[in-house]
């Protein structure tokens, strides 16, 4: 409270709940009007009027205050200062307002207008609406006010201004102050540094690496420390000295960690347990001067729980902070900033379980924090934890802002044995937390970049859970599942159910000019994750698929994975998978793609042949069975008909029809046989890659298909083993009838020779129509003979075709786009280094959608 000649200046924080206290007639409304914006002020009289049409109707008081509290709550939630203009002379009325301030984590401020009773009475008498207010009311107000004055701070008001007498009230002015945590005007650039825990030497190395010279950055950058400077490590005083000197000279900001907080209480003489490394700090500080210890105490005492920086784009605190606490000021906010949101449970190491607030964070500001040691600093929902366990032998990490670059130095040694290993072996433990059932189970909505929110129904998730849990490869090695693909619109050309003319037409309508027709290989869809070596696989994807013993035996662990469209490994024998990956890896190396794509892993979409390799069960139980049954039944039936005909029985038509059916059945057998051949080990196995989905740090799903195919051609060329097979293609201009005709001819020629068909894709890969929706990423046109395998041997008979043409494609098309968007999402999340559960969530969504009811022949 400063006093000037002209009058007192009252400091009022920019986000606070200001409670004016004074008897009726003390001049609160006039004061409020003079010092605050009209919209900031809510008066009880006004609220009475709102609910009762009479500002003085005392019977409406309860409802009026409900409205007042409601409005005040809404304003505070939105971060707006609010001034309550009511008498507030009773402690009970104030208590409700203090609670309201706490609920919204803002400072409650009291301004008392203490005016002599006579003045109040005089003023009321001058107002027609209050002229008949009994004198005793004002007397009671004044009495209650006087009684309250001493208790205001204890009631919870963090600032109390008492103005006595008319003159002081008239002369007072209000000064709006910023909150301590609001440093939004500072734009850095910043270097935010994670938990140091007394690792002074690592800190010096990191500052050096960041470009600081004796605590000063030549480019004027500011260091920001996320707290936990002390405890456990070898030289907490050294760290404090450095940080305090940088902070003192304006080269650094620092927020408190729970360890400083506890040490600070120790320094103030409170009793605290000397556990979790505090004993080491106390011992190290014993060698320092009393003066230094005093400086440390004052430094810790002055730390602000969190900072809002860079125009509100950045929030730094120790243990993370949900958006509703940003820039707020309350004990709860401070506690959350220091300790995080603990659930009260403890985990297997006796450590508190923390509520995963970051998983639900959707705020605008990036939140940079520390507190919980993680193996790698990774972004999650615009939050990042920089505690990479330096004191536990991990590393000390800094984030450059606004560049968002990570800079780290390894720990010189394990300074302190962690109670809990930095990473668990469970999937996801590598980069955050293991996969949790809640990530995938039940009805879910997955947010995607390309298609907004995509819903997964409960029963579909349940089916996917079964397959994912029992048959899929380790989720770490399953970063993607391919989407289903819609067939072309049904053709009405005689004898055809599918024909490319429709596919070209559809893309033309979607505004896609250039498409590529890719030969459809006669195999099974396969996704291959191939890493440069086992070490690269482990580094990027964790210890996926490695049981401890088998990793030890093979001396490396898996170098990737090769799986089907539902995530099952192609080969039961891991060594066969490894051999395929090895051949792929050799080809990638020979083609120079590791360097060119700046990666040490590739994710490939491909077709694995022969079909009989994976589908042999189905082939035998269904396709070959039908072939066998039809092959065995017709000779006898035809002979019987011929015998009857020879006896003069009229069976001409029946006999002719059975001959046609026999021919259809034979054609069917021929069809499936084309997709079967005998393999021995890898001899006879072929892999045709048609898209590079992702490499380190990048999704390549948007790379145009012509560039994709050029890269893949080089890959195939450099394979000396005969495993890799090229994908034949033809580019078609959908607007050019000549080009379209060439495309149709190409398909006719290919399918005429028994080919499965082709897939038509926009050359631009990820393409949107004029209306902004995703166009189909591909449309399949299956060959006439191939479709016998799908629609039965006799589907080409005119009466059958006529019925089969009524097929409904809309659901399939919608499903294809939704699955595609989820697949793209998985790749984007993978590229951005998001934690496994985020990638898995999208991958799981694809599998779940695959169990939606849709005509399986489409």
């Amino acid at each position: 409270m400063t006093e000037t000649r002209t009058g007192r200046t009252l400091s009022v924080t920019d986000l606070s709940l200001v409670v004016l206290i004074g008897a009726s007639g003390s001049g609160k409304s006039t004061f409020a009007r003079r010092h605050f914006k009209p919209t900031e002020v809510i008066s009880s009289d006004f609220c009475r009027g709102l609910v009762s049409d009479d500002e003085n109707d005392q019977s409406a008081t309860r409802d009026a205050f409900d409205v007042l509290h409601y409005i005040a709550g809404k304003r505070l939630a939105a971060g707006r200062r609010t001034v309550v203009d009511a008498t507030s002379v009773q402690s009970d009325a104030r208590r409700q307002l203090v609670e309201l301030a706490r609920q919204y984590d803002v400072l409650p401020t009291a301004i008392v207008l203490d005016v002599p009773e006579e003045v109040c009475a005089e003023r009321n008498a001058a107002r027609s609406d209050r002229a008949d207010m009994p004198r005793r009311v004002i007397q009671r107000h004044t009495r209650e006010l006087r009684r309250s004055l001493r208790h205001l701070e204890r009631e919870g008001f963090r600032k109390v201004h008492i103005l006595r007498g008319v003159e002081e009230i008239e002369g007072a002015s209000v000064l709006t102050e910023k909150r301590f945590n609001d440093l939004a005007h500072l734009t850095g650039p910043f270097d935010i540094i994670g938990d140091i825990h007394g690792c002074a030497s690592e800190l010096e190395s990191l500052l050096g690496k960041l470009g600081y010279v004796d605590g000063v950055h030549p480019d004027g950058r500011t260091a920001v420390f996320v707290g936990d400077l002390v405890d456990r490590g070898p030289d907490s005083p050294g760290v404090l000295r450095r940080v305090m000197s940088m902070a003192g000279s304006g080269n650094a900001l620092c927020v408190p960690g729970n360890h400083e907080n506890k040490y600070g209480r120790h320094l103030k003489g409170r009793r605290v347990q000397h556990t979790h490394g505090l004993a080491e700090t106390i011992e190290q500080m014993a060698g320092e001067t009393e003066e230094f210890r005093t400086q440390v105490r004052e430094f810790i005492d002055g730390l602000v729980s969190h900072y809002v920086l860079d125009g509100g784009r950045l929030v730094v605190c120790h243990a993370g902070l949900p958006e509703k606490y940003h820039g707020r000021t309350s004990g709860r906010v401070r506690s959350h900033a220091l300790y995080g949101d603990t659930t009260g449970e403890t985990d297997e190491f006796g450590l508190p379980v923390r509520y995963p607030w970051a998983e639900e964070y959707r705020g605008r500001a990036a939140v940079v924090y520390g507190h919980t040691p993680v193996p790698e600093a990774t972004w999650l929902n615009n939050t990042i934890c920089l505690d990479t366990g330096a004191v536990f032998g991990g590393k000390l990490t800094a984030l450059r802002w606004p560049e968002r670059e990570l800079v780290d130095v390894p720990a010189e040694r394990v300074w302190y044995e962690p109670v809990k290993p930095l990473r668990t072996e469970a999937p996801g433990g590598h980069d955050g937390r293991p996969l949790d059932l809640a990530d995938v189970h039940g009805r879910r909505v997955v947010e995607t970049r390309h298609q907004g929110r995509i819903a997964v129904r409960e029963e579909n998730a349940a089916a996917a859970l079964e397959v994912m849990s029992r048959f899929a490869v380790d989720p770490r090695l399953l970063p993607y599942l391919p989407p289903t693909m819609a067939p072309t619109a049904t053709s009405h050309i005689d004898g055809y159910l599918e024909h490319p003319a429709e596919a070209f037409g559809q893309y033309r309508e979607d505004g896609v000019e250039r498409v590529v027709c890719e030969e459809k290989h006669m195999g099974s869809r396969a996704v291959a994750l191939v890493c440069r070596d086992a070490e690269a696989a482990r580094k990027r994807f964790g210890d996926g698929g490695t049981s401890r013993s088998s990793a030890a035996e093979s001396g490396g662990g898996p170098t990737g994975s090769l799986y089907t469209r539902t995530g099952r490994p192609f080969f039961d024998d891991a060594s066969v998978t490894e051999e395929i990956l090895d051949r792929l890896r050799t080809a990638v190396g020979a083609a120079g793609l590791w360097d060119e794509l700046e990666t040490d892993w590739l994710l490939l979409d491909a077709e694995l042949m022969p079909w009989s390799l994976k589908a042999s069960g189905l082939l035998r139980s269904q396709y070959a069975a039908v072939g066998a049954a039809s092959g065995a039944v017709f000779p006898g039936a035809l002979a019987a008909l011929e015998g009857a005909a020879a006896r003069g029985v009229e069976v001409t038509e029946l006999l002719a029809r059975q001959r046609e059916r026999a021919a259809d059945a034979a054609a069917f057998t021929e069809s499936y046989r084309r997709y079967c051949w005998t393999t021995d080990g890898l001899a006879g196995v072929r892999l045709a890659p048609f898209q590079i989905l992702a490499v380190q740090g990048r999704s390549l799903a948007g790379l145009p298909h012509d560039e994709q195919l050029t890269l893949l051609d080089r890959l195939v060329e450099h394979d000396g083993t005969g495993l890799l097979q090229t994908t034949r293609r033809l580019y078609v201009d959908t607007g050019d009838p000549e080009s379209v005709r060439a495309g149709v001819d190409w398909w006719l020629e290919m399918t005429g020779r028994g080919g499965e068909g082709m897939v038509v894709k926009p050359v631009g890969a990820v393409v949107r129509s004029e209306g902004g929706r995703l166009v189909q990423p591909g449309i399949k046109c299956r060959g006439r003979e191939y479709l016998r395998i799908i629609y039965g041997p006799e589907y080409t008979r005119p009466e059958n075709l006529a019925r089969l043409r009524s097929r409904f494609l809309n659901h399939k098309r919608s499903l294809a786009v939704r699955e595609y968007a989820l697949g793209l999402e998985a790749l984007d999340r993978l590229a951005e280094g998001e934690p496994l559960w985020r990638v898995h969530e999208a991958v799981f969504g694809v599998l779940a959608l695959e169990s939606e009811p849709v005509d399986p022949r489409l």
């Binding site: 297997e348 397959v467 849990s469 069975a625 072939g627 039944v633 006896r647 399986p856």
Partner: protein, 494 residues
């Protein structure tokens, strides 16, 4: 689909009497509309010495598939029926049996108004079914027809001559010959036994099917040595399949997406209507061992003093059922990844009819040990009875973390087969695992090493208990590890 019925004759008893018996004139080809297509009857040969009637059923495969696609009533009992690629148009199944009974209904009843004496007379008969689906193989075909006085010729049909390594198909070519049976008897045998051999998920068996079976089986079925199998197969697939179809649809689609049969991915539970198979099952899992295992688990739970128990991988709920009978267990939670298993378990426990107090003790829900799960926290004990061997080894660490690291019950019981004991199962071929879905089976040493490592990592003590006869050389058939949590470390803030 197709079959022929032939007879031989003499000038006194001409073979062409067959025409009278069948009520179909040998000089014409006749067509009859049946519910699944057109049946044609024609005679490739017809004279006094030899007469052959052929029944050809043209099934409309597209209509069959489209009908099968629907939901609810009238829908297919099994998704595979909705396949356009279907053996039904070619193989002799219940469709053919139905056609037989409708086209030759008088002959089957043994009535012949024109020549009333004929039906009662046995005559030489030869019946040929070129493509007969025969689940159980040629052996079962013989066991079914030979006791009825038929001379049986049965030849397997190869799956595909171009791929001899694929072996035989499930079809056989069947020839039945006898001179001591009447035509009516022959038709009734076929009417019942064709669907029994096919054993297919075919079309809904209507509710009066029991009467039909009794009528067609009159005079021969009660005395048939395979009566039980015949009855069971003929009638079994009525309601269980309805439910199965509904529960499995999502899974069926995932199987289709991957070109696999649903059986391949839905093998978490055994067939529920396997009354027949139970008899022929190998002795790999004699009932007593399963009971001994449950007893051992309950005994160990009792020792641990657990009241709130998780049965992780509860399957069809046998253990949950046993635990419910013991009042020491106040809360029993069965968790399985298979929704079908849970449905069966729920039916077994009669959850919907259970009293409120009893029902409040038990919960069943879907879960997966490949993920951590907050719902599993805070229990006294968890049982993993014959569960771990159903996981691929590389995915075992996820289960370890989910159970020992995240759920953290005080006591964990793990049972798994002891592979050393497999040599004692006479019926189990050397080197084979005990169940098709076992991804591994461990020796006592392997299990011990694993269990000790897990205990060490997660702060448990472990003891081993043999289950079943403890063979001095190869040990017990089942091995059990009992994990107990060491005293909890002081829980304070980091």
């Amino acid at each position: 689909m197709f079959l022929t019925i032939s007879t031989t004759g003499t000038p006194e008893r001409p073979a062409t009497d067959l025409g009278f018996l069948l009520h179909k004139h040998p000089g014409n080809a006749q067509a009859f509309s049946t519910s699944h297509g057109t049946a044609h009857v024609l005679y490739p040969e017809a004279d006094a010495e030899r007469c052959t009637a052929a029944l050809l059923l043209e099934v409309d495969a597209v209509a069959l598939a489209r009908r099968g696609k629907g939901k609810g009533r009238g829908g297919a009992p099994d998704a595979t029926l909705a396949q356009y690629v279907n053996d039904r148009p070619y193989a002799a199944s219940s469709l053919l049996a139905v056609a037989l009974s409708s086209v030759f209904s008088s002959a089957m009843k043994g009535t012949c108004t024109a020549r009333p004496e004929l039906p009662g007379q046995p005559r030489p008969l030869r019946i040929e079914v070129p493509v007969l689906p025969a689940r159980g193989g040629p052996e079962l075909v013989r066991r079914l027809f030979e006791p009825l006085g038929w001379t049986v010729t049965v030849e397997p049909v190869a799956l595909d001559a171009e791929f001899p390594e694929w072996g035989d198909s499930r079809y056989v070519r069947l020839v039945l010959e006898s001179s001591g049976r009447t035509l009516a008897e022959a038709l009734r045998h076929l009417y019942v036994l064709l669907p029994v051999l096919d054993d297919a998920k075919h079309y809904w068996v209507s509710s009066d099917e029991v009467d039909k079976l009794l009528r067609a089986g009159e005079g021969w079925l009660p005395a048939h040595p395979e009566q039980k199998l015949i009855t069971s197969r003929y009638l079994s697939r009525r309601w269980s399949l309805t439910r199965q179809a509904i529960e499995r649809l999502e899974l069926v689609r995932l199987a289709e997406a991957d070109d696999t049969a649903v059986e391949e991915i839905d093998n978490a539970v055994e067939e529920i209507d396997n009354a027949v198979e139970a008899e022929t099952e190998t002795k790999e899992r004699p009932a007593p061992l399963a009971v001994q295992r449950r007893d051992a688990v309950i005994a160990a739970l009792g020792t641990s003093g657990a009241a709130r128990v998780l049965d992780l991988g509860c399957g069809q709920g046998q253990l949950v059922q046993a635990l419910l009978k013991d009042p020491r267990f106040t809360e029993i939670v069965g968790v399985d990844v298979s929704m079908r298993a849970l449905t069966i378990a729920s039916r077994r426990l009669k959850l919907d009819r259970m009293g409120e107090r009893q029902a409040s003790r038990v919960k069943l829900f879907q879960g997966s040990l490949a993920y951590t799960d907050n719902r599993l926290k805070g229990y006294d004990a968890a049982v993993l009875c014959e569960v771990i061997e159903h996981l691929d080894l590389p995915r075992l660490p996820a289960l370890e973390y989910a159970v020992f690291g995240s759920a953290r019950p005080r006591t964990v019981l793990v049972t798994t087969p002891n592979v050393e004991y497999n040599v004692r199962w006479e019926s189990l071929p050397a080197g084979h695992v005990r169940h098709g879905d076992h991804r591994f089976e461990w020796t006592r040493e392997e299990f011990g090493t694993w269990a000790c490592a897990v205990a060490e990592r997660y702060g448990y003590d472990v003891e081993f208990v043999p289950v079943g006869p403890d063979d001095p050389e190869v040990g017990p058939p089942t091995q059990m590890a009992v994990f107990s949590m060491r005293t909890v470390k002081e829980a304070t803030a980091a």
